[in-house]
């Protein structure tokens, strides 16, 4: 036992001595975070500078909040913010409950073979490269595609669905669910298996039917998992991944598809305007940071489950 009165450093030294190997194993991970996540942070400096590669980060002239002002005053600002929030919120709204429902359904299936088969099939899209998934989507939603054919049969127009700004979010969110539902359900299935079977037995004896059991045993049982994942997801609300959007969008759908991260990509990597895109990225990260804190706060206040 370590004396609680001992100073932090002496406690740490003793702990390191005792668990030398464990610390050694943690070292590469620590190094990874320092090198790839903390050291590069000094690069955010360029968000406040008129960055020129020949002058370097420290040598470039300081321009204060110029890039932020430019971004907030830009024609695209409201549109980017709206699209980012809407795509995120829709993804969260439809995409977050989907794996939970799926896990509950899977959990109720009694036939082992059927259960495993369904699980394996639903995991598959997750392991496909995003480029392939998007290639399939582009193909299926082209004017002669399979999905377009179905839409047409249901009375929709025969046109390139991906070129229509009204459908972009639907395609994005729906394909996201299709891709992630199986993988996302794993963690809930794991949580489900941790629920004490005795609770179900007791409920059965008390006369609770399946639905009642789900409502009063299963759901409360996996609630902490749900909350933690929700907090993590809320923290990412402003950071819609740009890869999938870049692979799917095109100028006619920018109106509903262009989000902050794709804008940063175009500004920074396509147009080499590193400073501007850093400023936008910084803005984005700050909002995300605040959202995580807020979500955690709300969660700890209401359900007493939180990340920290």
């Amino acid at each position: 036992m370590v004396e609680p009165s001992a100073s932090f450093f002496s406690r740490a030294r003793r702990d390191i001595k005792r668990n030398r190997l464990i610390y050694l194993m943690a070292l590469p991970i620590l190094a990874y975070y320092i090198i790839f996540h903390y050291a590069p942070m000094y690069g955010v400096l360029i968000a406040f500078k008129d960055y020129s590669p020949s002058l370097g980060i420290l040598g470039s002239p300081f321009v204060g909040l110029k890039w932020f002002r430019e971004f907030f005053g830009s024609y695209y600002f409201t549109r980017l913010l709206r699209n980012t929030l809407l795509i995120s919120i829709y993804s969260l709204l439809w995409g977050f409950p989907a794996p939970i429902l799926f896990a509950l359904l899977i959990n109720e299936v009694r036939n082992k073979f059927f259960k495993k088969a369904v699980q394996t099939i639903t995991y598959m899209p997750y392991f496909m490269s995003l480029v392939v998934v998007c290639g399939i989507l582009v193909n299926f939603t082209s004017s002669t595609g399979v999905i377009t054919g179905i839409v047409e049969a249901l009375g929709g127009p025969k046109s390139n669905l991906l070129a229509n700004p009204n459908y972009f979010r639907t395609i994005y969110v729906a394909s996201g669910i299709w891709q992630n539902i199986g993988w996302g359900s794993i963690i809930y299935l794991a949580a489900l298996s941790g629920i004490d079977p005795a609770l179900y037995e007791a409920a059965t004896i008390d006369g609770a039917k399946r639905f009642r059991q789900i409502l009063h045993i299963t759901l409360p049982g996996i609630m902490p998992t749900i909350i933690i994942l929700l907090i993590l997801n809320v923290g990412n609300i402003m950071s819609v991944g740009f890869e999938k959007i870049i692979l799917l969008y095109s100028p006619p759908t920018y109106e509903t598809a262009d989000v902050i991260s794709t804008f940063v990509y175009r500004k920074g990597i396509v147009e080499n305007n590193y400073a501007y895109s850093s400023a936008i990225g910084l803005f984005n990260s700050v909002i995300n940071f605040l959202l995580v804190i807020a979500a955690n706060k709300i969660s700890t206040m209401t359900t007493e489950v939180g990340l920290w």
Partner: protein, 587 residues
Amino acid sequence: MMKTERVHCEPKGLNPRAIPLGRIADQYFWEVTMFLKKKSRVVPALLLAAMLSVSGFSGCGQTGGESAAPSQPASQAASSAPSSAAEAEPAEAGVTFPLAEPITLSAYVQVPPYMSLILQTFNDNHVFQQREKDTNIHFDFVTTELSVLLASDSLPDVFIEFKNYPGGSEKAVADNVLVALNDYMEYAPNYSKIMAEHPDIAKELVTDTGTITGFGTVQLGDEVPWYGPTINQNLLDELGLTMPETIDEWYDVLTAFKNAGVEQPLNPSATWGWKVGFEYAVFTGAYDVSYNFYNENGTAKYGPVEPGFKEFLTTFNKWYSEGLIDPDFVTPDATAMQAQAMNRQIGAMPYSYNLEEISAPENGAQFVAAPNPTLERGGQLHLRNSNFHNKRVDSFAISTRNKYVPETVAWVDYAYSDEGYLLYNYGIEGESWNWVDGPANEFEQTMLPQSLRGLNKHAVLDFSGAVNPGGLQDSELRHVYTLHTTVGSLRTPYNAFPEEYAQASAVWAKAGDDWYMPAIAHTADEAASNSAVFTDIETFVEESVIQFIIGTKDLSEFDAYVQQVKAMGLDTVLENKQAALDRYANR
């Protein structure tokens, strides 16, 4: 994008979607490393790790060059190259080749992908080998990204194609990165001679202030257009139609195609996307606008906001709504498109003169060049695909770290001599080319340097004398034996230029190009103010134009759209363009 201004697009090897992902990573980790270096307290191990990541990332950037070229035909062929060609050149103002002492220069170069598959570095190229023999100057090639070289303060001696420097080349001279070559022109008699003899070309080789920031890749004659509308001749014949010349005739032809069951009567996308066709005024030209900046008798204009563009959009919107235009043209798939063209699913499309790529005569799909449409028969066009004399601006620039500027200048100047013309474009006589009896064709004559004009013989690429253990095709062997366009030189575009290409070009060349925007250059301030607003404008215009065509935005909103573009700062950009145009005229 502003950068397209002075960079000329080649029909081959152009890939606008290629994204230099390695670049930002390189840049970033280099910065981190430099920062760590300055902080002496940082653990050495950390520094090492950061360094490793730097090399790891630069490695990614050049895998194309390293993994390729399983066999090395170039180096093997080198040993058998005739050594007689190494004769001393005349003394040129203090530099005599070969140099008494060999020197080595480091040269920044990004070998184009189509060459990096064949050559590991330019040292495998016979022209470079020959020049090294003749001059005693050896090049070590640096392939690190330019921004990384600049950030790490380790400039090479020479830049082979200096571009994308923020603020432009003149700024690079001001920033003490590039040497202004005006004072060294005495070492470049051939280049000076070209500039003196061709004032119109000389205009493209200097900046507005008359600074020579680097050597360009120069073409003496006017290049005929290599891009324009094409149409399936077999379909025309089968339906008893004649070659359309006006927009109305095009409408009739496309309607006939549609009625005959052609899936995509017109696919406006070609290989590089729909914008390219509009930029080269393939259909917009009929309305005297292009999807770009142009120079209407000395006035800089931006096509997409001109009234003519509205008329063009009205036409295209009508065509689109009647099913004459491929509904998927916004998301083109180049490979699929070629197959579709060969499969008679496409009736007409803008394309380059490489028509064999989309034709399958045995299948009834022979594409031919169609004249750029006009509004009325015999109408005069002002805009079409047109090209600069300077193919690559600053394709050979010299850095301030270079200790041998006169020697370097003399080295590159040889490329602009008559012999250099033959060496760079054709290689070594007997290996990769031979003289053929009879004068060169009409086009080629205009490209030739003075002493080669009017001869009763002309050079023709002929690889029968080439050593080719790798079994490369002629088009690939070219990159081993010749140095076509990449490094500053006097070039001919007509190396193995087939008759069909010339025919296609001749059809497109009927349209005028007098409104074409010349090779203007912006000052650093102008470039900054342009890029602050124009990229946003460009995006807005791009999406609006498509929406107008496919009908998700009604054409009655065109005026509001123009107002929005102006509100986003188009007038500033136009003022900058006008200023640059005026300066260009006064060069």
